[in-house]
Amino acid sequence: MSLISEKDQQALQKLFEGLEGDVTITNFTQRESLLIVPGQECDYCKETRELLEEVTALSDKLHLETKDFVRDSQEADSLGVTRIPGFVLQGRAKGKVRFFGIPAGYEFSTLIEDILDLSKGTTNLSEKTRTALGEVNQDLHVQVFVTPT
């Protein structure tokens, strides 16, 4: 059964017709057991992976790379993914956008908006804000703590 309803998938597909540049999501998850026991992943790793698979399937401009948190630890380190489920969105953006935990509820719309912005490489922030941000020349790490609503 899909995590995203048919109706929502259609709506998203329509929205994604406006995508410009490609967006890649690099998702770090837990290694599946050699015994191939389905669902033996961290809490929500499976659902996160499935959700991202469903989202990225809705457009040719969206790409999903699934990585193993342990096997691909160097890449996880370089992208600053220290927890799983954790995924990084990359597109025309200059900085990095990461999610930790399943993007459920309100955060799902945050994910979709981020995908759209990353695809364009710009945001709806005001000119004044963009000017102020343009002057930031040191590393800034912004963490926003949320709960699934």
Binding site: G80, K94, G95, F100, K128, G134, V136, L140, V142, Q143
Partner: protein
């Protein structure tokens, strides 16, 4: 903001899955924003005030963790 500036990294962290982070950053209500472990505020701010907080996090010496 991360999309506008290469120096900015933005994380969205779902705290019910990472209780240790919720404790570390004393998250009692959401959303809570922490910038460079130095500036923190709860709730959603209007854009200009959010930016003000971001700029305040630059070159300040105070740690919140």
């Amino acid at each position: 903001m991360a999309i506008e500036n290469e120096h900015i990294t933005a994380d969205v962290i779902e705290i019910s899955e990472f209780i240790d982070l919720a404790q570390r950053y004393r998250v009692q209500g959401v959303p809570k924003t922490v910038i460079n472990d130095r500036v923190e505020f709860a709730g959603a701010l209007p854009e200009p005030r959010f930016v003000q907080q971001v700029l305040q996090a630059l070159d300040t010496g105070k740690d919140v963790t």
